[in-house]
Amino acid sequence: MKAKIRKLAVNVEETHLEIGRKVDPITRKAVAVAVIENPFANSYQEDLSLLMEIGAELGTLLGRKCVEVLGITPEQAESYGKSAMVGENGELEHAAALLHPKMGAPLRKEVEKGAALVPSSKKMGSPGQVLDVPLGHKDAAYVRSHFDGIEVRLNDAPRANEIMVAIAVTDSGRPLPRVGGLTHSDAEGIDGLR
């Protein structure tokens, strides 16, 4: 692996009740995080291709961790998202190199299909800061019930020379969706939007 990983973390959240009402079936979201060394900390680097390669590796690794912890088959995944938080000796562009050029294709293999854009967020940060990973339907971005997010933070990351990279996958939408719009069952999932 090109990524130098110090730490991996996987969280899964299940919602059984929402405002006193039973959620049936329960909704579940997972987020997997890798804390990696930033190969370009402290210096401006024109060519960020190493981070792009690392992004591809992490697309597979973190996507698979989420699917595993949810105990689902890849096609049962319903929404996804990705984020990165760069420690203070890096730059925001490092997050973009990890997330955008090469992470998507391997992630889509782990969740099967994935016609929709993978929603993303990025920021600079420090140990203990919160990273909010946006979530959207994996095959049809307009599915309104699946717009969501999951928070992740690690008390000891990212250190100054590190980057925290997160991928989130769910097997469901929000607990009690009722704001209309395109539904999961009506989505065609061909153009990634509807």
Partner: protein, 193 residues
């Protein structure tokens, strides 16, 4: 009838490969289970609270089993800890109800765990974080295994809720070198050494 009302469950696992030193062949793994439940005593002073411990027993076992499964079996586990956060309409004493059902659930699944389960508890608002202490399951004085794991959820505990936590770990701190009683030297009879 059981008063247990589970709103949310969350599980976390961390694998630590190094912390600036040599990369370990076996990463340290820590896992946590959190349950967000209604606090049946929220909003008033209730003198008689101990009955609720019975209701918590099955929850403790469920959470402990899930952690053991996440870490690959009881034989993998070397450290443990527990904790509770009480929403603002409750009191610290409600968190103390978790000691017996949480601790004994883990000890039931981990053969030969003699050591007391270390714990932390506090009253917290939504988004509160809890540092759950971890010590060796057989001998509290094993220095390499003193550790902790931070847990919390952005949407819990609400005022009328409590967050109950169990954690387990698979080994020593990744670059432990602070001496003291080593895991290989323990007698494991009194739970201390």
């Amino acid at each position: 009838m059981s008063k247990l009302n589970l709103r949310k469950a969350a599980y976390s696992i961390e694998e630590v490969f190094h912390e600036g030193g040599p990369v370990s062949e076996t990463p340290l793994r820590r896992a946590a289970a959190l349950a967000i439940i209604d606090n049946p005593f929220a909003g008033r002073f209730e003198p008689d609270i101990q009955w609720f411990m019975e209701d918590l027993k099955p929850l403790g076992l469920q959470m402990a089993s899930r952690i053991v499964e996440m870490l690959g079996g009881a034989d993998q586990i070397e450290g443990y800890g527990k904790g509770a956060m009480i929403g603002e309409a409750g009191e610290l004493e409600h968190g103390a109800l978790w000691h017996a059902p949480g601790g004994y659930a883990m000890r039931e699944l981990l053969n030969n765990s003699n050591a007391i389960v270390p714990s932390s508890k506090k009253v917290a608002g939504v988004g509160g974080r809890l540092d759950v202490p971890i010590t060796h399951i057989n001998a509290s004085y094993v220095r390499s295994h003193f550790d902790s794991m931070e847990v919390g959820l952005n949407d819990a505990p609400k005022a009328n809720e409590m967050a109950l936590v169990l954690v387990m770990s698979t080994g020593p701190r990744i670059h432990n070198r602070a001496g003291g009683l080593a895991a290989k030297d323990i007698e494991g009879k009194d739970g201390l050494r």
